[in-house]
Structure formats: C-alpha cells, structure tokens
Amino acid sequence: MLTYRVGPFSVRLRTPLHDLIQLVRWCYGTNVDAEPRDLALFNVAVEKGSLSRRLFAPQAVFRTDSETPFQPFPRDHAFALLEWGLNWCIATRAHQYLMLHSAALERDGHALILPAIPGSGKSTLAAALALSGWRLLSDEFGLLDWKTGLLQPVPRAIPLKNDSIEIIRRFSPQADLGPVFPRTRKGDVAHLRPDKQALSRDMETVRPAWIVFPRYRAGSSVRLTPLPRHLAFVRLSQNAFNYRLIGVAGFAAVEHVVDTCSCWSAEYGGLDSILSALDRLPSPAP
C-alpha cells in the first residue's frame, strides 16, 4: 500500500507491481507517504491481469473501489495506466471545482490557463513553461474553485507523446523524463516529473490572469490575438468537463474568469517564440 498526495487529493494505491511503486516514488517524491488530505481520497489498485495472460502478454488492470473503467493495459505500461486512471477519478468526482480541460501555470502570483483543443500542443507547451520558470499547477485539469474563483494546483506528471518527447529533451537538459512507454493507445508516451516547487506548493491557490487558446502550426511565426470575451466564454465552457453538470455555478464561474482575465488566441510554430510571447503578456491590474 502506498499513499501519496496530488494537490487536494490523496491516492491510496494497492499494487503488487514493484516497478510501478518505484515510478510513483520517482514522480511524486516528497508527496509520497505524506499526510493524506481530507478533501478526497481515491482508493485505487493496479493489479496483475488474468492468469492466462501472464506468461506471454502480462497485463495491468486499473480498479477504483468496485469499478474497472478501462480495458487492461500491457503490464509495462502500468504507470501510464495509473495516471490515466487518476484522470478518470478526478473527472468523475471532483465537482466541487469547475474542471477545465487545460494546463495551468503560475508566474509572479498570476495564473495562465491554456485550454486543450485538438492541435494545441498543450502538454508540450506546459512542459516547456514549467522548465522555464513558470510553476506547474496542472497539465490536464484547470481546477477552478467556483466559490472563490481561484485555481487549485494539482501538479502531476506531464505525459509527453511521440515527437514531443524528443522536443522537450532538446529544449532542456534539465527535463526529468521517465521511461518511454512505446505504442500505448496514444502513441509513445514519456512523463515529465513535476519539480519540487510544484509539489511542495500544491495547496497554494492562484488567481487566474490570462486565458490563452494555443494552436500549434508548423513553421508559423508566433501571433497572439485578443479574443472577444463572449467567444472566450463559449470556448472555455465547451472545454470544461462538468460545465453542464454544475449548472448556474458553472456559468457564473466561467463568466467571472473570462471577465477578470485577458483572453487571447495564440498561433505558434516554435517553443522559444511562444514562450517569449507569453512572458510578455501584460500584467493584470493590481
């Protein structure tokens, strides 16, 4: 049994897979065996698959309580399976937040929201920002507390896929990447470990200041364009996992965050240029 914290959540993991335990310890460091938080406890297990498969194609199965939400994965993909399983736990249970499908990072006390849209390059961009002085709040979930309007960090491994793995290796020699899991359902995947600062400050909530909808286009020069607020509202509400579920609270939360942030669409063709543009985003009024 292993217990570790991810932001406001605690994970209690049962598994016989020692390689998986090693990777969880590598990734979550000081947050492993930390005092559990009361807000939500996910009881999960990653178990060996059926006996008949163990000899030739061993499998790993993710379970939470009595549910098995996914088909088995190859056993050597167990860490990727666990991370996706935790995404499922958060997405289906954390309705005290408006859950944006986005990355979120912090600089000088202000948060940047990068909603995920197809082709956005969200995770690659989040990884590059996290390796360039921004504090990683989250790669997958922008957890917006709809009572306070603040973003709750949930720093976890950033799953980089396919070409992004090498792009981030080249971008920063400091990138602490785990093993490459080849040919998963999302292609080759390697995880960037969240740094110590992100893990240790995982209960420091942040007020959002910027919403940037990124779009990667190979060869494009960087271009940031102000986005009308009503369009930002539409795009952000469509991007949230539980917007409809939480009703008027979701509407009010999106209205507030759109009203108080500067909203942009961004096209970019290279990491250096978009990072430079994001560094020059105007600071919010005090």
Partner: protein, 106 residues
C-alpha cells in the same frame, strides 16, 4: 451552447401574446453586442445577439403581444417596419429553444 440570430424567416400574428419561460432562472453575461444567457429551467446556455436579447429582456418583465414587441424595437432604433419579419423570426427561434412561449390571450 446555442447561437440564436434573427436570420431565418417566419410569420405569426401580431396579436399573439408572448411570455418568457421561467425568467427568474435567467442569468445574463453581456459583452459588447453579444449576450450569454443561462436558462436554469433547461440548463442550457445560449449566445444571443442584440435583437433576441432585447426581446427577452422585455418579456422578462411581463407578457407582450408581437405588435408591442415590434413597437418596442422600433422605439429602440430598429430601422423600418420591414423589421417585423426579423421580430417574428426571433420569436419563433426563441420559442423553439424554450426561452419564450405563447401565453393565453387575456
């Protein structure tokens, strides 16, 4: 999310009485010429341009006939009597998305 405009065509009677559906559950957000409306009755969010916004705001205060709505829009600066087609279309569209409904004539 539905985007309501005044571009389709439809006719109805100027004497029809209209009312908003559960206007107490409306929540508005307004930016520039566009409005967003959360309708608590259906849980839907709508993006509305100026004309349906004007109509809904008026009907939120009480029932009106089509002719009264047209007069209100002309007062608000609508360009000409031909504008009535747009009023009728907007009312029909708002009715289809359950934001307004015909009321019994008094």
């Amino acid at each position: 999310m539905e985007h309501t405009t005044d571009s389709a065509s439809h006719t109805n009677r100027d004497g029809d009485h209209w009312r908003a559906v559960s206007p107490a559950t409306f929540r508005w957000a307004n930016w520039d010429a566009e409005s967003l409306l959360f309708h608590g009755e259906t849980g839907e969010t709508h993006i509305l341009n100026a004309l349906p916004t004007l109509i809904l705001l008026a009907l939120s205060k009480g029932e009106m006939t089509t002719a009264e709505i047209l007069a209100l829009c002309l007062d608000a600066g609508a360009p000409s009597p031909q504008f009535s087609d747009k009023i009728h279309t907007s009312l029909q569209t708002l009715s289809e998305i359950e934001l307004v409904e015909l009321a019994a004539s008094p």
